[in-house]
């Protein structure tokens, strides 16, 4: 039983990390009042770009950089459309999904089903031999530690810095922020591109670390789950951590329960990650009745200075 739990806990980051990073990307973007539904497409493109870079002879870090860059470029397309040309955010996001999946298919043609050597676990020496803590905390691949760093940075950046304050102001009330001298277009575009970089990182994690191979459609809905997690987490990075850990943890235990042959209904198991995440994230919403709504007030609203009144 001990090894069962240990092996399960070791594999949790594999499921949770890509969801968490993509979720952070959604949150950063949404804090500026833009909802980018294109996450699934951005992750698909970056996952393909990462593996293609490795198979072309690039190093893993180079591949990661290429993947992140692809995420930024594709989200920049979305940003220019919605922030500069004021197109509908929902519609543009869906177009990005189709674009990303299409581009990934074109780019990845000829690179599918070719295994790569991806990021391996970091060697922490004696720390790895500590009971329980060793293999769980010190047995992960380097991208998991980068993820932890990114969560801290995002949380700090959005909530504790002056730039973060302006970012949230743009998301709450762009015309007031504009009056106060904040460049709404630059802030929104910046948030979209940083969000795209995070989603690109998430896609790269899937193909370079978790799967170590690329096949078409391998993102398999994780982009949509990241958006759902961001909504459940009410746009707070630390709540996203809780949500991603519960969701990823439940997903990680499913194959392990099945392999033991325990008599549990499979379809019920498949539903569990969604149910548990929903339950846990609803609790604070119920208990903190009367508190303000956390959703950025200007979410999904494009800002046109001429419309100000």
């Amino acid at each position: 039983m001990d090894t069962f739990i240990l092996n399960w806990l070791i594999s949790v980051p594999l499921f949770a990390a890509p969801l968490l990073i993509a979720c952070l990307g959604v949150i950063v973007t949404a804090r500026a009042g833009v909802l980018n539904l294109g996450v699934e497409g951005i992750m698909a493109l970056s996952a393909a770009a990462g593996v293609v870079s490795v198979l072309q002879g690039g190093s893993l870090w180079w591949a990661l950089a290429v993947a992140v860059l692809c995420g930024m470029l594709l989200s920049a397309v979305f940003g220019i459309a919605t922030v500069v040309f004021k197109t509908d955010q929902v519609l543009s996001g869906l177009i990005i999904v189709a674009m990303g999946e299409g581009l990934s298919g074109v780019l990845g043609r000829g690179f599918t089903h070719r295994p790569i050597t991806g990021f391996e676990s970091v060697d922490f020496g004696f720390l790895h031999d500590l009971p329980w803590v060793g293999p769980i905390v010190f047995g992960q691949d380097i991208l998991v530690y980068v993820t932890v760093l990114l969560v801290a940075l995002t949380g700090y950046g959005v909530h504790k810095t002056f730039t973060g304050l302006r970012l949230r102001a743009v998301g709450e009330n762009p015309s007031t922020a504009d009056t106060a001298g904040v460049n709404v277009t630059i802030y929104r575009l910046g948030a979209v591109i940083i969000g795209g970089a995070l989603c690109g990182f998430a896609g790269a994690y899937l193909s370079l670390s978790a799967g170590q191979v690329w096949v078409e459609h391998m993102v398999a809905g994780r982009g949509w789950i990241a958006i759902a997690l961001a909504i459940f987490a009410r746009w707070m990075p630390w709540r996203a951590v809780v949500g991603a850990l519960i969701f990823g943890g439940t997903e990680a235990i499913i194959p392990r329960i099945q392999a033991t042959g325990a008599d549990v209904p499979v379809y019920f198991l498949m539903m569990l990650p969604y149910l548990l995440t929903l339950a846990v994230l609803i609790i604070p919403a119920i208990t903190s009745r009367g508190s303000q709504d956390d959703t950025p007030a200007a979410l999904l609203t494009n800002y046109l200075r001429e419309d100000r009144h």
């Binding site: 092996n7 499921f15 078409e216 392999a259 209904p265």
Partner: protein
């Protein structure tokens, strides 16, 4: 609910089969021009790649230049549009490759009676449309024999997609074959509920290895299952194509499609003007449409001989993987001694046989 749908489908298929037998030969107009419609990219490492291998052989054998369109979604309008374009350009042999193309190809077959249509894994048929599939379970039985001879923990495993009858019969035949060599062997079966998710497939394999499984088979195509097997130093059985390159140390064998063995004679008959749609064709070992990749040296000579004997018996129709007694996981008998499985029982298979560790989702 699902059972009802399956039953309805079987009745419908039987009705179609009966009406089809009255039809005549299809006369192509103009020179023969053939094209395939693929569900995914040609080199997807799995299903489409196995058909692509067949297309290449078909080109060599018939001398035709055979075109293909990749990544065509299972949407009626899309499939019909591609068929229209091909027909306008003078193509008169069109071969689909997915169950989900069935309805569209049936409609196209009615629209273009002088064009010959085939569909791999389809369920629909017409005077000029044939659906065909391989009796995969026959080769899975042989693969099970190989797996049982290579396990020391007496626990083997299989990672599968969804609990459909065509998947369940693979899993059950794999276990039946293993039991034929060693009755004590148990098979851990896991459905990942996806057709392509390398992360989940790899994790399912790792979880099995942690439970003591030392031979892992995949009923899917992601490279992460052989990778997990290779990393843990356990044995591996592949599917659809020869997967030996993905697990050079652990590869025991793969259950491999050889679509050309059915495509070549069919297309040759179309060219000769003697082809008529048989409705549905389920082709097995006897025609060589399914088989094993070369066996690993790890399999002892005695077992190789038994595998060869079983293969010969199946080709001759003297053996099926589901000859009675066949019992379900809980011990209830499905097929009595001296009886064999019927087609109906195959197409409605919604249980695991004895010795399988795993849970079959409720069928109702």
């Amino acid at each position: 609910m699902i059972k009802q749908m399956v039953n309805t489908a079987i009745v419908a298929a039987a009705a179609v089969l009966l009406t089809v037998s009255a039809y005549a030969q299809v006369q192509l107009q103009g020179d023969p021009k053939a094209a395939f419609i693929y569900l995914s990219p040609a080199h997807d490492g799995g299903w489409t790649e196995s058909i692509e291998r067949g297309r290449v052989i078909l080109e060599e054998q018939t001398g035709l230049d055979i075109h293909f369109t990749e990544d065509v979604a299972e949407e009626k309008a899309k499939v019909l549009q591609i068929v229209d374009l091909y027909v306008q350009r003078g193509y008169n042999i069109i071969i689909g490759t997915s169950w989900g193309y069935g309805e569209a190809l049936q409609e196209a077959a009615e629209k273009y009676p002088s064009v010959a249509f085939m569909n791999a894994a389809g369920e629909t048929s017409a005077a000029n449309l044939e659906s065909f599939y391989a009796l995969t379970y026959q080769a899975w039985y042989l693969a099970g024999m190989a797996a049982a001879s290579a396990t020391t923990t007496k626990k083997i495993g299989i990672v599968a997609g969804f609990p459909l009858s065509v998947v369940n019969w693979d899993i059950n035949a794999f276990q039946r074959g293993a039991q034929a060599i060693d009755p004590e062997v148990q098979l851990v079966a896991t459905f990942v509920n996806t057709w392509f998710d390398p992360v989940k497939e790899g994790q399912a394999a790792e979880a099995m290895i942690e439970q003591g499984v030392d031979v892992i088979a995949t009923n899917l195509s992601a490279a992460s299952v052989p990778a997990a097997a290779e990393k843990a130093g356990v044995r591996f059985v592949g599917f659809q194509n020869d997967m030996s390159a993905l697990a050079p140390n652990g590869h025991l064998t793969s259950v491999v499609f050889h679509w050309a063995s059915h495509l070549v004679p069919s297309v040759q008959a179309m060219i000769a003007g003697t082809w008529e749609s048989p409705g549905s064709s389920f082709v097995g070992l006897d025609k060589g449409m399914i088989g094993l990749a070369p066996l690993s040296d790890a399999i002892p000579t005695e077992v190789r001989e038994r595998i060869a004997a079983a293969e010969a018996a199946m080709r001759a129709g003297e053996l099926t993987p589901f000859d009675g007694p066949v019992r379900k996981q809980d011990g209830t008998e499905v097929i009595a001694v001296g009886q064999s499985i019927t087609d109906d029982q195959l197409w409605t298979m919604d249980y695991f046989v004895e010795g399988i560790i795993g849970t079959m989702p409720a069928g109702e």
